[in-house]
């Protein structure tokens, strides 16, 4: 197998000024041995006395770093190029390579004996820093496992206090810590678990004003937020500062997982260019969540974070994993980088954090009251056989229990994805139980250009004043 070895300028003087040298070899190690046989002064420059490649030497086979393949055992084939590239680094102080004490070596033994981690990997974990956004459901297993794994510096952003209703899932906190700061509670727990890590507390609301400065100080960001404005802020700030985001989110019985903002990978905006209309997706506080679910997703975030730091395995870049606890199933979807993405695309328009509350529609808008009709007006429209679609946006079980004849069911949560089923020319009269959800549906429909009105009082008013035989609970 004839391969061509290319030398950087700095090394050519040791090889009779040659830039390219052809050798026959089966793998990278053999190619280098043959090179050294011809030019022995190169050996001292590239190998340490114990015969290993020096840390500042990079070897590429064609486009790939041999370290990402099988190192010196990486096979080469006819026509391959083996590129020797200096890792150029330096700086004011001596490499403060993390040293592991005897206690730490004992503690991390099960890591160190993994060839994929080893002593070097464990030191890398110690030198690494991770910023956890949120000390809640996802942040609990995430920070606990990161601390246990020996991540040197763990930052946590949160400003909440521990509430009794948190303890069903936020296992970093405990009963005695109810009413105290989540951050203090987290620090106490993490340092009790592993006193060898540093825990940095950022008791603040993450905002467009502070996100970039904060993110710059960490290697990886792990997003465990529960709201859309912060999620978009974390995404944009990760892209702008070049930090990978080990992302997780949960709702009821389902979870999502991905790594966004990695080099050449998609970001959250590539997947979801716009947030859902406000109020459409309930928070955990409104919609509930199975307590174990964040344990599953937050733990997976910790795995992705550690993989990113160690550079092992296949990071979850360009893939979105969906977990369904009821089905007990995982699905993986591909996520492509969107070249037109406003933050990570080829011509980004977002170059600094924006106003995310406004972006997510959470700032007060000029009041545009939805047109409403009463149940009596609805009755008369039905009696006159006027042409319109009566849309019921309640849940299927409510619909089964009691409905107005002739109505079409599309639960509010499904509406944004099912707009395609609706005819833009038709008129829509929308109801729910009492008028709240249908109000949101009407707002959405009108924004999308549909002619829609709300039924004031919903099916409750209908059962009360029009069809008293209906029993609505």
């Amino acid at each position: 197998m004839s391969v061509e070895i290319r030398l950087p300028t700095a090394l050519r003087a040791f090889a009779d000024k040659q830039e390219k040298i052809s050798v026959d070899a089966k793998n990278v190690g053999e190619a280098l041995d043959k090179l050294f046989a011809k030019h022995d002064r190169l050996k001292a420059q590239l190998l340490s006395p114990d015969g290993k490649l020096r840390s500042f030497v990079n070897v590429y086979v064609n486009e790939d770093d041999a370290r990402d393949k099988q190192g010196l055992a990486t096979p080469v084939k006819d026509g391959d190029t083996v590129l020797i590239v200096p890792a150029i680094a330096g700086g004011v102080t001596l490499a403060a390579e993390a040293e592991l004490s005897r206690e730490e070596l004992r503690r991390y033994d099960r890591h160190v004996i993994l060839p994929e981690v080893g002593l070097a990997g464990q030191k890398r974990l110690k030198s690494a820093s991770v910023l956890c956004i949120g000390a809640g459901g996802l942040g609990s297993p995430l920070a606990l496992y990161l601390a246990a794994a020996g991540i040197g510096r763990i930052g946590i952003v949160d400003f909440d206090v521990v509430d009794e209703s948190n303890l069903q899932r936020q296992i970093m906190h405990d009963t005695p810590s109810v009413g105290t700061s989540k951050l203090e509670s987290a620090k106490k727990r993490l340092l009790a678990l592993n006193p060898h890590v540093k825990v940095e507390l950022h008791e603040t609301r993450l905002s467009s004003a502070n996100a970039l400065e904060l993110f710059k100080r960490y290697d990886v960001v792990a997003d465990g937020t529960d709201n859309f404005p912060t999620r978009y802020l974390v995404n944009d700030a990760c892209v702008l500062t070049g930090k990978p985001n080990a992302y997780g989110s949960i709702f009821r019985f389902e979870g999502q997982l991905s790594v966004f903002g990695a080099k050449d990978g998609p970001c959250y905006r590539c997947l979801y260019p716009e947030p859902p209309p406000p109020g459409l997706v309930p928070s955990c506080a409104e919609g509930g969540v199975l307590g174990v679910l964040p344990g599953v997703i937050g733990t997976m975030q910790a795995i992705e974070t550690i993989k990113l730091i160690l550079g092992i395995g296949k990071p979850l870049v360009g893939r979105l994993m969906l977990y369904d606890a009821l089905e007990q199933s995982w699905r993986t979807l591909k996520v492509k980088k969107n070249p037109a993405c406003p933050v990570c695309g080829t011509n980004p328009t977002i170059k600094a954090p924006i106003d995310y509350e406004a972006f997510c529609g959470l700032k007060e808008k000029p009041v545009t009251a939805n047109p409403e009709i009463s149940v009596e007006e609805l009755k008369s429209k039905l009696d006159k056989k006027e042409t319109f679609v009566l849309l019921d946006v309640r849940e299927p079980h409510e619909y089964e229990a009691a409905k107005i004849d002739g109505s079409k069911l599309i639960p509010l949560g499904e509406l944004p994805n099912r707009l395609g089923e609706l005819d833009k020319k038709a008129k829509y009269v929308v109801h729910c139980r009492s008028g709240g959800r249908s109000g949101k549906a009407v707002t959405l429909l009108r924004e999308k250009g549909f002619d829609a009105v709300n039924v004031a009082g919903g099916i409750l008013a209908w059962a009360d004043r029009i069809d008293t035989s209906l029993e609505v609970s």
């Binding site: 003087a13 590239v85 150029i88 820093s129 290697d219």
Partner: protein, 148 residues
């Protein structure tokens, strides 16, 4: 042993290091590869400088620089066969002397010139160039000679 360059290029290096402050700035020195490149005391002529992003982790950029090997490989292949090459690197030491640190020595390559700029509070305060000995045990300073 000398590092020759122009006032214009020296200004570019200083500006790049100042704008990177308080982080370390870094970049490539390009020029003709001389005969006897590996000799202590060889003379280099820098005819182009290129600033590069500091690839080090965020928290350490204030006392470290790292050049992406892929970027470097790109420049090397661009200059392949032209007689020119990457003949050195510059980097800054924010608020520290323009002398190579032990870490600089540990990571240094032979032949090349290492041009170090001291930046104090955002202003260039000193500028010195160094060549590593072949045994890798020390650096020898070389004068920076400005022409034109």
């Amino acid at each position: 042993m000398t590092l020759k360059t122009t006032r214009g290029l020296e200004t570019l290096v200083a500006k790049a290091c100042e704008s990177a402050y308080p982080e370390e700035g870094c970049g490539l020195l390009l020029g003709a590869v001389p005969d006897g490149f590996d000799r202590m005391g060889r003379e280099l002529s820098v005819d182009e400088v290129r600033a590069l992003p500091n690839g080090w982790d965020a928290s350490t950029k204030t006392n470290r620089y790292l050049i992406d090997p892929r970027l470097l490989a790109k420049v090397e292949s661009e200059l392949s066969g032209t007689g020119r090459g990457v003949i050195g690197f510059y980097h800054s030491h924010p608020n520290h002397p323009a002398w190579p640190s032990p870490f600089d020595l540990m990571m240094a390559w032979p032949c090349l010139s290492y041009w170090i700029v001291r930046v104090d509070g955002g202003k260039t305060a000193d500028s010195r160039s160094w060549q590593r000995t072949e045994d890798g045990r020390s650096f020898v300073e070389e004068p920076i000679v400005l022409e034109g």
